[in-house]
Amino acid sequence: MVPILELRNVHKSFGALEVLKGVTLEAMRGDVVTLIGSSGSGKSTLLRCINMLEIPTQGAVAIDGEEIALSPEGPDRHPLDSHQLRHIRSELGMVFQQFNLWSHMTILENVMEAPLKVQKRKPEEVRTQAQELLEKVGIGDKADAFPAQLSGGQQQRAAIARALCINPKIMLFDEPTSALDPELEVEVLGVIKMLADEGRTMILVTHDMKFAREVSDKVVFLHLGKIEEEGTVDEVFGATKSDRLRQFLGAAGHA
């Protein structure tokens, strides 16, 4: 079976600073992969390399067997085929730490925008799906509100609905609860857990070890731009091999 996501030897440098130093990673359809690690370990950068918000300076990314075409390796590397990139991006639903909802559009408009403009789907069909998704994440009554009128937790759930509405092959979560206080965090984590239980393919960057244990099929621990340890929840949390990870988990209070 073809992996839904394949990262091969991904490097990323910002000037002289090398953030990713060769990461190889695979995910199969239905996998929930969590990326953990301390700040600066490169986990967010790795996630952003998947949809080319950051262009890897070396290495390759393939979605569902299709490799994203990039120019030869180097600091000025860029996508070769903007049409292909847009198509691949339109199949990856991304949820950001700061929600990044389009502030001048209502929640419903936010959810409908990409399906209408990028995927060119029919308005009636998209509207129905958008309403269903908003109901699903528990903010069906907020369809006509603007983002600024919602709490952080509600905004993030709207952002999740927006990502779901493109029927993504993979959901990418970049620290989705880091900007929320604990009370609001719970409601967002509840939604993500629900999606995991549905069997969606998800790549999740998180600081929440308890949550990583709950949802992950595979946990990846990044340290200084490399995968230090990876495996199932039991392997990584139960039978920790590396000292770095033990130290990290100890500091996180979950050793």
Binding site: N51, L53, R89, W102, S103, K117
Partner: protein, 252 residues
């Protein structure tokens, strides 16, 4: 003749000239608006040649007085008349103040407006742009979905200001360009009336009144647009809805 009658006579006499000021503003503002968007994007461009050329244009027109720009344009057009406009048979058009006036105003307002838009462009939330790209939008789609609505909202109060400045600047057109026949704007006509009876106070007050009233209408319309642009903002940041109302309170 009583004062009120004198004022009323002036109001009537200045009504037709007011159309010239309105014409100069209305013909140059939309064109300047469109060019300014392109120029602002040019200044914001990553291409150094495009960016520097745009900056240079903006600097040149913001850095020199509009009055001088009018003279410059007129001299240039005049110099080109024997070699271009007359042989081409378009002198009647190219040398008309009704063309040169808006031409100079467009060049000028484009520069000022571009600088306003450029400043606003830099405040467009990076996260919203990134989200649009992450969903696979093309550059044009990102511009339409995120950049434009955010930019124009931030720029709007300053742009309103530029519109009123430009409208007032239309009073300069016939100070620098030749007056043809009865094509006179408010300032011209007021000067003509003043030269008959030397009543500075009356004629220029009425001229000023025209500018005040038209400016009020501009504020009203632009205010309505702004209220619409800000409707997604939290209540405390929303502007008061503009009202066109004269309501002195005689009894408190």
């Amino acid at each position: 003749m009583g004062l009120l009658e004198a004022i009323w006579t002036d109001i009537q006499l200045l009504a037709f000239p007011a159309l010239f000021n309105i014409y100069f503003a209305a013909s140059s503002l939309p064109i300047g608006f469109g060019l300014a968007v392109l120029l602002a994007l040019g200044k914001n461009s990553r291409n150094p040649v495009v960016s520097r050329l745009s900056s240079a244009y903006i600097y040149a027109f913001r850095g020199s007085p509009l009055f001088i720009q009018f003279f410059m344009f007129y001299s240039i057009m005049l110099a080109l008349n024997p070699i271009w406009w007359r042989p081409m048979g378009i002198a009647w058009f190219a040398m008309s103040p009704l063309f040169i006036g808006p031409l100079a105003l467009v060049m000028n307002t484009t520069a000022y407006t571009a600088e306003i838009f450029y400043g606003a462009l830099r405040t467009v939330p990076k996260g919203e742009l990134e989200a649009a790209r992450a969903f696979g939008m093309s550059r044009l789609q990102v511009f339409r979905t995120v950049t434009w609505p955010n930019m124009i909202r931030v720029a709007w109060p300053a742009y309103t200001n530029e519109v009123t400045f430009l409208f007032h600047a239309t009073a300069l057109v016939y100070f620098t360009l030749p007056v043809i026949g009865n094509q006179k704007d408010i300032m011209n006509k007021a000067t003509e009336l003043f030269e008959r009876d030397f009543n500075v106070f009356l004629h220029f007050s009425v001229a000023g009144l025209y500018f005040l009233v038209i400016t009020m209408a501009i504020f009203f319309v632009f205010g309505l647009v702004y209220a619409r642009m800000m409707r997604h903002m939290p209540k405390e940041r929303q502007p008061h809805r503009p009202r066109l109302r004269f309501g002195p309170k005689y009894i408190r």
